[in-house]
């Protein structure tokens, strides 16, 4: 039978089943259930849980554990994720896999503790320094979070870069019925050739590092990273479309707001307004082609981007739509959440 689980707990369990054997974190609302769950669960599976002295320490512990080839992760919420940015940049520079969960709360600064989507830029454009990206997912429900988390380490190892799960307070706190995947046998996971696990006799030295003093060398490394991102864009880009077949108004939103917008589409259809929805599942790589294909359709009149921010994803939507159709915005911020009715009213205002 399906189990009723909170988003945070379900993500933690899915991580364990995916082979996560090292968790490093520091408490912050609204993601505390993840470290809380890990604190006893890692003990059960013979893994490591450390409540670090700070977010900075936690991400650098992830850096260390990932260097040794261990499936390592951290989780936090907005202000804590800001603190982790230096470490994330280093992990990207050192070409290491790991998973980072951000249950976004409102900002800037300490902001508030209610749900928000105002960390989109930070997540997809690179919140730390340097030329890098992460594979960023924006799951809309508990089951989808579990499914993404279960694959996240495989993807991180494939592309040798962090995977970020960009949720929000709502996703972390809500409960839904989930089907949990089976526990992966960690002894059967692929060996990472680059992992530093002790020199041993007669083997070549392995070095994990992100320092390249020679410009040509660093340029080559950066090109290698971006070749992987191109590969990632080819293989991993994902989005969901709902009622877009004959839609004239295309709503777009990610994460929990994506499903609130889905209810809004249903309500608009009842009022005779031909609305549809496109919900990106990967935020980086962004599913630009899906948007562009919709923009090319004659029936489509305009896009309305709904976010719990002042408008961040809308920039990627506009790039994808490329001027073919108008892109409008509706959003709330500060921790306020939109209801389907709010979205319906915003759309009706635009249509009139």
């Amino acid at each position: 039978m399906k189990k009723l689980m909170k988003g945070n707990e379900a993500i933690a369990e899915a991580a364990v089943r995916a082979g996560c054997r090292a968790f490093f974190g520091y408490p912050i609302t609204p993601q505390n259930e993840i470290p809380e769950y890990m604190s006893w669960r890692q003990n059960e599976v013979g893994g490591t849980f450390v409540q670090a002295e700070s977010e900075v320490a936690a991400i650098n512990m992830v850096y260390g554990a990932a260097s040794a080839g261990v499936r390592a992760m951290t989780s936090s919420s907005s202000p804590g994720i800001s603190l982790k940015q230096e470490g994330i940049s280093y992990i990207c520079g050192a070409e290491l896999p790991c998973v980072i969960v951000n249950m976004v709360r409102s900002g800037p600064g300490l902001g508030g503790i209610q749900p928000a989507q105002s960390d989109y830029f930070q997540a997809v454009k690179g919140g730390g320094h340097g030329d890098y990206h992460m594979l960023v997912y924006g799951p809309s429900g508990v089951q989808e979070s579990v499914d993404i988390m279960y694959q996240a380490f495989d993807k991180a190892e494939k592309y040798r870069c962090p995977v970020m799960i960009l949720g929000d307070g709502m996703l972390g706190q809500m409960m839904e019925a989930v089907e949990l995947p089976e526990m992966k046998d960690i002894s059967k996971l692929p060996k990472q050739e680059w992992a530093v696990t002790g020199k041993g006799r007669g083997k070549t030295r392995k070095i994990i590092n992100s320092l390249y003093i020679q410009p040509d060398e660093l340029e080559e490394v950066t090109h290698r990273l971006f070749d992987r991102y191109a590969e990632m864009a080819k293989n991993e880009t994902a989005s969901e479309e709902y009622m877009t077949q004959d839609a004239e108004i295309i709503l777009t939103a990610y994460g929990t707001v994506g499903r609130i917008a889905k209810s809004a589409v249903n309500m608009l259809r009842e009022k005779g307004i031909k609305a549809g929805l496109i919900r990106p599942i990967t935020l980086y790589p962004f599913p630009s082609k899906a948007y562009n294909d919709l923009a090319k359709k004659d029936a489509v009149k305009q896009f309305i981007c709904v976010e719990l921010s002042m408008g961040q994803m809308i920039e990627d939507v506009k790039l994808a739509v490329n001027g073919l159709k108008e892109v409008k915005f509706y959003g709330r911020t500060g921790g306020n959440v939109v209801s389907p009715e709010d979205i319906v009213n915003a759309v009706i205002k635009e249509v009139k």
């Binding site: 609302t29 709502m170 809500m174 409960m175 019925a177």
Partner: protein
């Protein structure tokens, strides 16, 4: 079928667990469900609420603007949410802690002295379960047997409190025809 419920009360009244029991009953019956709590600086004595959506299809929005059913465990909750109840919806009011009536004429209000029932059941903390009984009877979404089974499962770790909870459920259930 889609039923949207907002349950509100003081922190410590079992508002969140009342919502969870409805969610477990939904899963038991093979329905889809979302349970979304208010979270924040709430504590015992503060206000607390949760939104539960039960559906025979996948639930889209877990956020509820207009509930079909409001369960108000105290007076402030009635003040806060009464205006949002959908036309033709219902409000279940814990009259032990609410000395006023619902103002709306286009919804149906039901009053249950849940705290007194809980005392009668032998445990004052079962007021939320008495209200659950009333909810199950009034909405007819789940059978009493299903919910009793869910109560037994959820309190399995504390078997001592099961009889009082089942009694409170019965009393709440039998309060309405």
């Amino acid at each position: 079928m889609e039923e949207k419920i907002i349950i509100a009360g003081f922190g410590g009244q079992g508002v969140l667990s009342l919502g969870q029991l409805i969610a477990y009953a939904a899963i038991h019956d093979g329905l889809e469900v979302t349970w979304l709590p208010s979270y924040g600086p709430e504590m015992r004595g503060g206000t607390s609420n949760c939104s539960v959506v039960v559906s025979d299809k996948q639930v889209a929005s877990p956020v509820i603007a207009k509930p079909d059913c409001l369960i108000a465990m105290n007076k402030p909750s009635l003040f806060k949410f009464e205006s949002r109840v959908k036309e033709g919806g219902i409000i279940i009011i814990n009259s032990s802690l609410t000395d006023i009536k619902a103002k709306r004429q286009d919804v149906k209000a039901y009053y249950i002295d849940a705290n007194d029932i809980a005392l009668e059941a032998g445990n004052v903390r079962t007021a939320n379960i008495a209200v659950l009984g009333a909810y199950v009877k009034l909405r007819g979404l789940f059978s009493a047997d299903t919910v009793k089974q869910v109560i037994e499962q959820q309190f399995a770790a504390k078997p001592k409190v099961i009889p009082a909870n089942l009694k409170a459920f019965e009393l709440g259930y039998n309060k309405f025809d």
